[in-house]
C-alpha cells in the first residue's frame, strides 16, 4: 500500500481521476483463467500434417462447389474443398505454407476452375494422380533466370463503389495468386502497380458486401482501369455486429444471441421515441409505451423482470456511439402521472444507423453492472467521404385516440334515480327521457367524455443530415426539429437537435474522432390520470369544452363540487425544458499490427428545468376555484443538473497462434461517474393571482438533493477462433462501486461463450446453407442504488413559529448490503436454408438473480416504510425464436417476412426470510378492492392480489392465498354475491405476458414497397383502476341494466343453487325491498377480480406504403439522388378484451418496473403519418 500512497494524487484534475483500483482479486482469477486457456490452446494446436484420403478418379470440371473464404490459408482452403467434395489432396506442408490471407468466394463453380484460381501465381500446380490431387511446385518455363530481375511495370487502378454508386472506402482489393493488393481510399479509389503483363483475377471484398471477382488483362507499361460496384450482402454470413464497448465482432463468432435492428426498420414506424420504435423488432424484448402523451416515456424489459424493487431503474443501459447515456425518467417532483419522457427519447430516431440489443449476461459482461438488465447499443449515422451528401426527411402525422371505453348512455345526472342537474353523481339519476320531462334543457344525448375530452393531435418533424470529406477527414452533421401537439388538451412537446461529428485519420496508425450533439427538448405535460379521474366525476350531461367563463374563471357544474376537467388542464401548466449535450472523443492508436490502443471519453450533460404554475383565486363573484388542483395559486420549479462522464481504455492484442488459431485479447479500464443535483422550489399562494414569479408568493420552500455515483471497472476479453468456425470467448470484469461498503464494493464476475459454425466443418446438404450453435454462461454483478447503505434524518419544512422538525428518513439503508448476482445460461442455434432465403434463430436462456437488493416495503410498525435488504432471488427462463424468410425474390418483386416470438417465465424463488411476501406496488380501488402487486416465493413477479368473491368449496379445503375461479360464487341470503373480507387477499392473475410475438413483412414491387408489423402480447393481466372508478359511478356500458331484476349465478352457503331474485338499482326496488346504494356500489366495485382484466392485445402496429421516385426523374432534376414518399399508419387495428384505454399504457412511469396497473393513463394514439425523404 505504501507505493499507492506515494503515487496518490499526482495525476489529472481532482474531480475526475483515472483510477485503477488495487487489482488483487481479478489478477488471481485472471491467472487461473489464463492457465486454463493456455491448456486449451496447447490442445488445439496439436495437429499433424494433413493426410490425404483415398478417392476415385474424378472429372474435376463436373464437381461444383460453393466456397466462402475469408482471410484463410491455402491449407485451410484446400481442407474446405476436401470437406465439401470428398476429394483428397496431397502436398508438402512447406509448399503451401507461404500462401495465407486468401479471400475467395464462388458459388457452384467447378473444382478445376477453383483450383486454377487459388493456385494462380502461386508457383504451385495440381495434378490428378490416381485418386488423389497432388499439389506441387511448378517448374515454370516462363520464369527463366534472365527475366526474374526485370521489374514488372503493368498495373491496375480504379474505383470501388457501393450499391448506390457512392465510394466504398476501405474495400480490400486482392490480385489473386499474387501477394499484391490494395485498400480503397476515401473516394473508393485504388491503384496497384508492379504487375507482369497477363490475365489476372481481381477479388474485391468489403464488409457487408458480397465478394466480387473480375478478370483484368494487364499489359506491359499500361495501367488497366477497373471500376467495380459491389452489391450488399444480405446473407449475414459475414455480418459484423457491434458488441459491448463498441467492439465489432463477426456475428459468426458470437456465442450468444445478438439482434440488430437497422435504422430502416426503426424509421419505418415513424415513432417519436426511439424505444417505441423498437417495438416488435427483436425477440426477447418487451416494450411498453407509457401512453400516447407527446414525448412520453416507454419502458423496455429484456428477458423478463429481474428486480424485486418496483422503484429501481431496471431499464437496460443505453449506449450511443460508445457513450453510456442517462435514461432516467425523473418523477421525484411528483410528476409521475405527467407522462414524463425517458431521457433516451431525446435521441432523434431518424439519425440512427442501427441498434444492437444485448440481452444476455455474456453479451453485456464487458459493460459490467450497469448493463445487468441488458444494453441497447445505438450507432448514429456517421459520415462517408466523398462529395457532400445531404439527406432530408420530413414527417407529418395526425393522431387520434385509438381506443376509449364505451360508457352507458341511458342514465343521467342524479342519485337514487332522481334527477339533479347539480348533483355530484354524474349518471346515477333517471333515464334521459325521464330527465327531459323534468328539465326541458336536458340534451337528447349525454357525452362519452373519454372520447369527447380528447382532440386530434399532430406532429411535424424535419431532419437534415449532411456528410462528406476526404480520406483524411470526414465530417457529418445532423439537424432536426420536432413539434407535437397531443390529443389531450394543452399538451405538447418539442425537440430540437443538432449534431456535428468528424473523424480524422492522421496516419494508418493513429485515428481519432469526436462528436457533439446538442438537444433541446420538452413541452407542456398534462396529468392524464387526474384528467381521466375528473372526467369520471364530471356529469356527461354537460359539455366539458364549455370550461371557462369570459372572466377567466372556471365554468363547471355548480353545486356538484366537481371541477371541469379541461379547466384544470388549462390552468395547471407543467412544462419541462431540457438542454442536453452528449459528446464523445475517441482515438485509436495501432503502434504495431498486433496491438490497438483505443480510448474513448464521453460526457452526457443536461439541465432539466421544470416549472409548474397554477393561477390563484381571481376573487370574482361566483368564482368556483379548484383549490384541490390549484392550491392557492403557486409556482414550483424543479431543476435537475445531471452529468455523466465515462472513460474507457481498451488494449486489443490480436494475433494468430499457429495456423488455425486466431486470438484477440482485450484488456480495459472503465470509469463511470454520475453527478445529479436537484433543486425543488415550491412557492405557495400567489399574491397577484396570475403573476408566476417566486417573489409573488406568500411562502417559498426549497429542497436540494445531491446524488453522486462512481464505478471503476477492469475487464478482459479473450476471443480465440479456430479456422473461422469455432470461437471461444472468455471475459472477466471486476467492478468497484461507490454504493457499497468498503468490504463489499469490489466484485468479480466472469463469462464464457462458445460459437461453433458447424456448417463449416460438417457436410451439410446443399439446401442447408449455414448452421451455428452457441452456448454461453455468465455471471453479472450489480451494486446497490445510490445511498442505499446509509440512513439518517432530514429537515422538514419550517413550521409557522420557525421551528424546523427533523424526521427519520423512512427508507432505511443497510450498511451490510452485498452485490447482487445474476447467473445466466444461454444456448442457441442459427440456421439458414435455401441460399439463405430462410433463416431461423433459436435461443433458450435461464437466468437466476440472487441477493437482489430491494427497499422492502415493510410493515410500518417496524418504524420504516421500507428497508434496503438483500432480499430474494428471481429466475427468468425463456425462449426466443426468430424466423426470417424471403418467399419471393425476383427482379421486380420481393417479399420478406420476419417473425419474432418470445416466451419468458418468471418466478420469485425466495424473499427476505422474515417475510412471507413483499409488496411491489398497490393501486387504489373502491370498497377495499385495492390491488397489490406482490412478490411471493413460487409465484411470478407480476402476481396481482386483491379482494375476491367468496367461493363454495363443497367440503374441500381452500388455499386462502389463491383465487379458484372454477368454484361457484357464494350468494348471501340477501341474494347478492358475498365479498371476502378485505384482509383475505388472494392471488388473482399475473401481469407478465405468456408470450410476445411480432410478424413483419416487406413487399416490394419495383419502386413501391409495403411494410406491415403485427405485434402481440398475450396472456397478461392488469388491474384497471379506471374500470373500478367507472363502476363506482355506474358509468360503464354494463351498468345500463341497473333497473333489472336478476338472479345471481352461484350457490348459497349450504351449496344449494341460488334462486333469489334481486334488483340491481338504488333505493327501493320494484319488489318493495330497499336495496340501499345498489348492487354496483355495494358489491360489484368491491371485487378486485372484476377489474383485473385480460390485457392481452394484438395490433397492427405499423402499415406503411412507400414509393421511391424513379431514377430517371432524379437524373432530370440534376441535383436529387433519390426521393421517397411514404404514408404510414400506426395502431390502425387493435384487438383486446381490455375495457378502457389501450392496455399497453401504464399507470406507472417508464422508470418503474411495476407493470401490473393500467388505469387512468394517457390514451394511446392511432396515427397517420406522411413522410418525404430526399437525398442530394
Amino acid at each position: 500500500m505504501s507505493f499507492y500512497s506515494k503515487m496518490r494524487g499526482i495525476l489529472l484534475p481532482r474531480h475526475f481521476e483515472f483510477c485503477f483500483l488495487h487489482p488483487r482479486r481479478p489478477v488471481v482469477k485472471m491467472k487461473t483463467l489464463m492457465m486454463s486457456v493456455t491448456m486449451l490452446v496447447l490442445l488445439l494446436t496439436v495437429n499433424g500434417l494433413l493426410i490425404a484420403g483415398p478417392s476415385h478418379g474424378q472429372d474435376l470440371s463436373k464437381i461444383k462447389i460453393t466456397l466462402d473464404l475469408k482471410n484463410v490459408s491455402l491449407k485451410t482452403a484446400l481442407h474446405k474443398i476436401e470437406s465439401a467434395t470428398k476429394l483428397a489432396f496431397s502436398y508438402k506442408s512447406g509448399d503451401v505454407a507461404a500462401y495465407r490471407h486468401i479471400n475467395y468466394s464462388v458459388t457452384e463453380t467447378a473444382v478445376d476452375k477453383v483450383l486454377d484460381d487459388l493456385l494462380i501465381n502461386t508457383g504451385l500446380r495440381y495434378e490428378l494422380l490416381n485418386t488423389n490431387i497432388i499439389i506441387k511446385k511448378r517448374i515454370d518455363p516462363e520464369l527463366s533466370s534472365d527475366q526474374v530481375a526485370a521489374i514488372p511495370d503493368g498495373g491496375i487502378k480504379g474505383r470501388i463503389l457501393d450499391a448506390e454508386g457512392g465510394p466504398l472506402p476501405g474495400a480490400s482489393i486482392q490480385v489473386l495468386g499474387t501477394q499484391t493488393g490494395a485498400i480503397a481510399d476515401g473516394q473508393g479509389g485504388f491503384s496497384i502497380s508492379g504487375l507482369n503483363a497477363g490475365d489476372y483475377k481481381v477479388q474485391v471484398t468489403a464488409i457487408g458486401f458480397t465478394t466480387a471477382i473480375r478478370d483484368v488483362t494487364v499489359k506491359d507499361g499500361e495501367t488497366a482501369d477497373l471500376t467495380i460496384q459491389l452489391t450488399p450482402d444480405n446473407t449475414s454470413l459475414t455480418e459484423v455486429t457491434v458488441t459491448a464497448l463498441g467492439i465489432k465482432k463477426e456475428k459468426r463468432s458470437l456465442g450468444y444471441s445478438a439482434q440488430e435492428v437497422t435504422g430502416e426498420a426503426l424509421s419505418s414506424s415513424k415513432q417519436v421515441n426511439v424505444v417505441n420504435a423498437l417495438q416488435g423488432q427483436a425477440a426477447g424484448l418487451q416494450i411498453n409505451a407509457g401512453g400516447g402523451a407527446p414525448g412520453q416515456g416507454a419502458k423496455i424489459i429484456l428477458r423478463g423482470i429481474n428486480s424485486l424493487d418496483g422503484a429501481r431503474d431496471f431499464q437496460p443501459l443505453f449506449v450511443i456511439d460508445g457513450v453510456p447515456i442517462d435514461n432516467t425518467t425523473d418523477v421525484t417532483d411528483g410528476s409521475s402521472l405527467n407522462g414524463m419522457g425517458n431521457r433516451a427519447s431525446d435521441i432523434n430516431p431518424d439519425d440512427i444507423e442501427s441498434i444492437n440489443i444485448l440481452k444476455g449476461g455474456a453479451a453485456t459482461a464487458l459493460y459490467g453492472l450497469r448493463a445487468s438488465t441488458g444494453a441497447i447499443i445505438i450507432t448514429t449515422k456517421s459520415g462517408k467521404s466523398g462529395k457532400l451528401r445531404a439527406d432530408y426527411t420530413s414527417t407529418y402525422s395526425v393522431d387520434n385516440i385509438n381506443k376509449y371505453p364505451e360508457t352507458q348512455s341511458r342514465f343521467t345526472q342524479g342519485w337514487y334515480g332522481e334527477y339533479d342537474p347539480n348533483s355530484f353523481w354524474p349518471v346515477t339519476g333517471p333515464t334521459i327521457e325521464d330527465a327531459k320531462a323534468i328539465d326541458p334543457t336536458h340534451p337528447d344525448k349525454i357525452f362519452n367524455n373519454f372520447k369527447h375530452g380528447y382532440k386530434t393531435g399532430n406532429s411535424f418533424r424535419n431532419t437534415l443530415t449532411l456528410s462528406g470529406g476526404t480520406e483524411k477527414a470526414i465530417l457529418n452533421a445532423a439537424f432536426s426539429q420536432f413539434n407535437q401537439d397531443g390529443i389531450m388538451p394543452f399538451t405538447d412537446y418539442k425537440n430540437y437537435s443538432a449534431k456535428v461529428g468528424g473523424d480524422l485519420k492522421f496516419s494508418d496508425k493513429f485515428r481519432m474522432g469526436m462528436s457533439v450533439n446538442y438537444i433541446k427538448s420538452g413541452g407542456r405535460r398534462g396529468n392524464a390520470d387526474r384528467y381521466n379521474e375528473n372526467l369520471t366525476y364530471f356529469s356527461p350531461r354537460w359539455d366539458i369544452w364549455d370550461y371557462i367563463k369570459p372572466d377567466g374563471t372556471q365554468n363547471t357544474i355548480v353545486g356538484s363540487g366537481n371541477e371541469n376537467p379541461i379547466y384544470i388542464l388549462y390552468g395547471k401548466k407543467y412544462v419541462d425544458d431540457v438542454d442536453r449535450i452528449i459528446s464523445n472523443a475517441n482515438f485509436t492508436y495501432s503502434p504495431v499490427t498486433w496491438l490497438d490502443i483505443s480510448y474513448r471519453f464521453g460526457v452526457d450533460l443536461y439541465n432539466d428545468n421544470r416549472k409548474q404554475t397554477t393561477p390563484g383565486k381571481l376573487g370574482l363573484v361566483d368564482e368556483i376555484y379548484p383549490t384541490s388542483d390549484f392550491g392557492f395559486g403557486g409556482v414550483r420549479t424543479y431543476s435537475i443538473n445531471n452529468r455523466i462522464m465515462n472513460s474507457t481504455l481498451v488494449l486489443n492484442f490480436k494475433n494468430d497462434i499457429g495456423e488455425h488459431l486466431s486470438s484477440s485479447f482485450k484488456i480495459g479500464h472503465d470509469l463511470f461517474e454520475s453527478r445529479r443535483h436537484t433543486v425543488y422550489t415550491q412557492g405557495d399562494t400567489l399574491v397577484e393571482p396570475t403573476f408566476y414569479n417566486l417573489n409573488n408568493v406568500k411562502r417559498t420552500t426549497a429542497v436540494t438533493t445531491q446524488r453522486d455515483y462512481r464505478i471503476i471497472g477492469l475487464f478482459g476479453d479473450w476471443t480465440l477462433g479456430w479456422d473461422n468456425y469455432l470461437y471461444l470467448t472468455i471475459t472477466g470484469r471486476n467492478d468497484w462501486t461507490s454504493t457499497l461498503s468498503k468490504a463489499n464494493r469490489s466484485f468479480f464476475y466472469p463469462s464464457a461463450s462458445l460459437s461453433w459454425v458447424f456448417s463449416e466443418n460438417i457436410g451439410l446438404p446443399a439446401w442447408w446453407s449455414y448452421g451455428k450453435a452457441r452456448f454461453s454462461v455468465a455471471k453479472i454483478g450489480k451494486d446497490a442504488p445510490v445511498y442505499a447503505t446509509s440512513e439518517g434524518f432530514k429537515p422538514q419544512l419550517p413550521l409557522t413559529n420557525g421551528a424546523i422538525p427533523f424526521i427519520l428518513a423512512n427508507t432505511k439503508g443497510d450498511a451490510n448490503l452485498r452485490p447482487e448476482f445474476t447467473t445466466s445460461y444461454e444456448g442457441g442455434l442459427e440456421l439458414k436454408f435455401l441460399q439463405n432465403r430462410l433463416g431461423l434463430d433459436f435461443t433458450y436462456y435461464n437466468n437466476t438473480s440472487k441477493d437482489l437488493i430491494v427497499p422492502v416495503s415493510v410493515p410500518v410498525a417496524s418504524g420504516y416504510e421500507s428497508i434496503y435488504l438483500n432480499a430474494g432471488s428471481i429466475r427468468n427462463k425463456g425462449v426466443e425464436i426468430s424466423v426470417s424468410g424471403t418467399p419471393v425474390q425476383t427482379k421486380d418483386f420481393s417479399w420478406d417476412l420476419r417473425v419474432n416470438y418470445t416466451a419468458n417465465r418468471n418466478k420469485v424463488l425466495s424473499i427476505y426470510p422474515d417475510l412471507t411476501e413483499m409488496t411491489m406496488a398497490t393501486h387504489y380501488g373502491y370498497l377495499s378492492s385495492t390491488v397489490t402487486q406482490k412478490n411471493i416465493p413460487g409465484q411470478p413477479v407480476g402476481a396481482l392480489y386483491g379482494r375476491t368473491y367468496k367461493r363454495y368449496f363443497d367440503g374441500d379445503t381452500e388455499d386462502p392465498a389463491v383465487l379458484d375461479k372454477s368454484r361457484p360464487i357464494v350468494i348471501g341470503s340477501n341474494g347478492f354475491p358475498v365479498l371476502n373480507p378485505a384482509s383475505k387477499q388472494q392471488y388473482i392473475a399475473n401481469s407478465q405476458p405468456k408470450w410476445i410475438g411480432s410478424l413483419s413483412s416487406t413487399l416490394r414491387y419495383k419502386d413501391l414497397s409495403l411494410y406491415f408489423l403485427l405485434d402481440a402480447q398475450q396472456g397478461l393481466y392488469r388491474y384497471n383502476q379506471f374500470a373500478n372508478f367507472l363502476a363506482s359511478f355506474l358509468m360503464q356500458k354494463g351498468a345500463e341494466n341497473r333497473n333489472d331484476m336478476v338472479v345471481f349465478d352461484g350457490v348459497l352457503e349450504d351449496g344449494t343453487k341460488n334462486t333469489k331474485e334481486v334488483w340491481l338499482g338504488q333505493g327501493t326496488g320494484p319488489d318493495g325491498v330497499n336495496y340501499g346504494n345498489g348492487y354496483y356500489r355495494n358489491y360489484y366495485r368491491g371485487d378486485s377480480e372484476t377489474f383485473i382484466e385480460n390485457a392481452s392485445w394484438i395490433r397492427l402496429r405499423t402499415l406503411s406504403l412507400g414509393y421511391r421516385l424513379p431514377a430517371s426523374l432524379m437524373k432530370r432534376s440534376g441535383f436529387l439522388q433519390g426521393a421517397n414518399i411514404s404514408v404510414t399508419g400506426n395502431n390502425l387495428w387493435l384487438s383486446t378484451k381490455y375495457s378502457t384505454f389501450d392496455p399497453e399504457s401504464s399507470s406507472f412511469s417508464s422508470g418503474s418496473v411495476v407493470d401490473g396497473f393500467s388505469g387512468f393513463t394517457y390514451p394511446a394514439t392511432r396515427s397517420i403519418i406522411f413522410s418525404l425523404n430526399l437525398n442530394f
Binding site: 355530484f424 462501486t737 468498503k742 410498525a861
Partner: protein, 470 residues
C-alpha cells in the same frame, strides 16, 4: 515494440495508484441526510406530528361521531363502509418511530425532559391508536431490521402500557438533572414548559383511566387522584400552536369556501346545539358553525349528502372565522373542560352527585370561556333549566351530552360515544347505513394487511366491540 509495451505498463501502473479508495469513499454516505440530529428538531417532530395525528384521527372519526357529515350521498366514511385508513396508520407509526428515536437520543444525552415529553407523547399516540383499532403492533415495533413483522399486542395489555408510559414520562419530567433544555419554539404544544407537560401527563392519565368505565378495572378514586395533578384552568390546556401552513381545521374551512366541499357539520351536532334536540340554543354554535342562508343553523344528515347545490349556504359548515377553523386556530388536544367532565363522570359513578354536578357545570363554563362565549350568553345557557338541573337530577346522559359538545372534533369523543352506547337523545344512524347498529371500531388498513397479513387479527365487522366497550 518492447519500449511501447513498457510505456504502456508504466502508464497503467501510474494511473492505477492514484487516490482511488477516496474516489469511492467520498460517495458512500448520503449527503442529503444527517446521521445524528440535534434533539430539539426531533422534539418539534414529536410534538407536531402527535398533535397532527390527533387531528387526522379526529377528522376521520368525526364522521362517525357525527360532528361532520359528507356533502355526498352515501359516502363510505359516513355510512359505515370500510374505509382504508392506511395514511393515518402510517402517520401514527412514523410519529411513534420518531418519538422512539428521540427517546433513545434523549437517554444517551440525559435529556430527561425531552425523554419525559417523548414518553407522554408515545402514550398518547398509542392510546389513540388502540381506541380506534384495538390490537396493534407495539411491543415488537420500532425495531427496524431486528423485527420486520411485529406481532399485534392485546389491546388490554397496550392500554396498561399506555398508562405505564405516562408514569415513566412523569418520572422523567420530574427529574432535576436533565442536561438539555427544551427549546421553546420546538415544543409546539407547551412552548418548553415542563410543568405544563406534567399536568398533561396526569390529564392523559385521567382520560385513559376513564376509558375503562365499562370494565372491571374502572376505579373512580384513581381517576380523581390523577385529576388533582392535571389541569386547573383553561390556560393549562395542551394545544398545537404552530403549523406547516394553514392550521388544520382552517384548511378544511378554506377548502370548503373554495368549493372543495369539506367540514360540513352533521345534523346531530347542529341539532344538539340549535335547540332542536334539547330545546335550548347553545351560544357556542355561532362561534363554531356557519349561518345558513335561511338565517339559522342546519346540519347535514350523515349518508344523506347535500340538499341543494352545496354552494348556496343551505347548511352549516366549519367557517373560516370559527373557533376551531379560523386562520391560525390552535388545535385543542387535551383540555381543562375535558378534565371537568371526566371528574363529573367519575364522581357520578362514585355516587358523589354534588361533585359531579359542579364539575359538569364547570366543564360547560370552561369550554364556553375557552371558545369565547359572551358572559351573558354563557350564563343564560348555563342557567337554563335544561342545563342547570340541580345536583340531584344530574345524569350520565347530561354529562355525556355536554362533553360531546365541548369535545367537538376531538377523536376522544368517539370513545365516549361507544362507552355511552350512543345513547344520546335523538342520535340517529346514518342514512342507508351499512351496519344495523352503530359503528364500534375501524378496520385494519390495507398497508398492514398487505405487508403484515399473517399477524393482522381477523375482525368480525365494524360493529365488533373493543375490549373496553364490551
Amino acid at each position: 515494440m518492447k519500449r511501447i509495451l513498457n510505456i504502456a505498463v508504466i502508464g497503467v501502473l501510474v494511473i492505477s495508484f492514484s487516490s482511488c479508495e477516496k474516489y469511492l469513499d467520498d460517495k458512500l454516505e448520503n449527503p442529503n441526510l444527517v446521521k445524528v440530529p440535534p434533539i430539539n428538531p426531533l422534539l418539534a417532530t414529536a410534538t407536531y406530528e402527535t398533535s397532527m395525528n390527533q387531528y387526522r384521527l379526529g377528522y376521520n372519526v368525526s364522521y362517525l361521531a357525527q360532528y361532520l357529515a359528507s356533502s355526498s350521498q352515501g359516502s363510505d366514511g359516513d355510512i359505515y363502509n370500510e374505509v382504508d385508513y392506511s395514511t393515518t396508520w402510517r402517520n401514527f407509526y412514523s410519529t411513534m418511530m420518531n418519538i422512539s428515536e428521540m427517546n433513545k437520543l434523549a437517554e444517551q444525552n440525559s435529556a430527561f425532559h425531552h425523554l419525559g415529553v417523548g414518553k407522554v407523547l408515545m402514550a398518547y399516540n398509542l392510546n389513540m391508536l388502540i381506541t380506534a383499532f384495538g390490537d396493534v403492533p407495539f411491543s415488537e415495533a420500532f425495531r427496524g431490521l431486528d423485527e420486520l413483522t411485529p406481532v399485534f399486542d392485546e389491546q388490554t395489555t397496550l392500554h396498561a402500557r399506555s398508562l405505564e408510559l405516562l408514569e415513566e414520562g412523569i418520572a422523567s419530567l420530574s427529574r432535576t438533572d436533565a442536561l438539555a433544555e427544551i427549546d421553546v419554539p420546538s415544543d409546539v404544544v407547551h412552548g418548553g414548559k415542563v410543568a405544563a407537560w406534567l399536568k398533561t401527563a396526569y390529564a392523559l392519565k385521567a382520560r385513559f383511566l376513564n376509558q375503562l368505565s365499562k370494565t372491571a378495572a374502572y376505579n373512580e378514586e384513581n381517576i380523581l387522584t390523577a385529576l388533582e395533578s392535571a389541569y386547573e384552568k383553561n390556560e393549562d390546556d395542551a394545544a398545537l400552536i404552530a403549523f406547516d401552513g394553514l392550521s388544520p381545521w382552517n384548511e378544511v374551512a378554506v377548502d370548503n369556501e373554495n368549493l372543495n366541499l369539506d367540514g360540513w357539520l352533521s345534523t346531530n351536532i347542529v341539532n344538539a346545539m340549535n335547540g332542536t334536540t334539547y330545546g335550548v340554543f347553545d351560544p357556542r354554535l355561532p362561534l363554531v358553525a356557519s349561518l345558513t342562508k335561511f338565517g339559522d343553523y342546519r346540519g347535514t344528515r350523515n349518508g344523506a349528502g347535500r340538499i341543494g347545490t352545496g354552494t348556496d349556504n343551505e347548511e352549516s359548515y366549519l367557517p373560516t372565522n370559527g373557533y376551531f377553523s379560523k386562520g391560525g386556530a390552535p388545535l385543542p388536544l387535551v383540555t381543562f373542560a375535558e378534565m371537568k367532565f371526566i371528574e363529573a363522570e367519575a364522581a357520578f359513578r362514585d355516587g358523589d352527585k354534588e361533585t359531579a354536578y359542579n364539575a359538569y357545570l364547570a366543564g360547560i363554563a370552561a369550554n364556553m370561556n375557552k371558545i369565547g362565549v359572551d358572559e351573558d350568553d354563557k350564563n343564560t345557557y348555563i342557567n337554563n333549566a335544561a342545563v342547570s338541573v340541580g345536583k340531584d337530577n344530574i345524569t350520565l346522559a347530561l354529562i355525556f351530552k355536554e362533553k360531546y359538545v365541548a369535545m367537538m372534533l376531538n377523536p376522544e369523543s368517539w370513545v365516549d360515544m361507544r362507552r355511552f352506547d350512543y345513547l344520546y337523545k335523538d342520535f340517529q344512524l346514518p342514512l342507508n347505513a351499512a351496519l344495523s347498529g352503530f359503528i364500534r371500531r375501524l378496520a385494519y388498513p390495507s398497508v398492514e394487511i398487505s405487508r403484515n397479513g399473517p399477524n393482522v387479527p381477523a375482525i368480525t365487522g365494524l360493529d365488533q366491540r373493543l375490549f373496553w366497550d364490551q
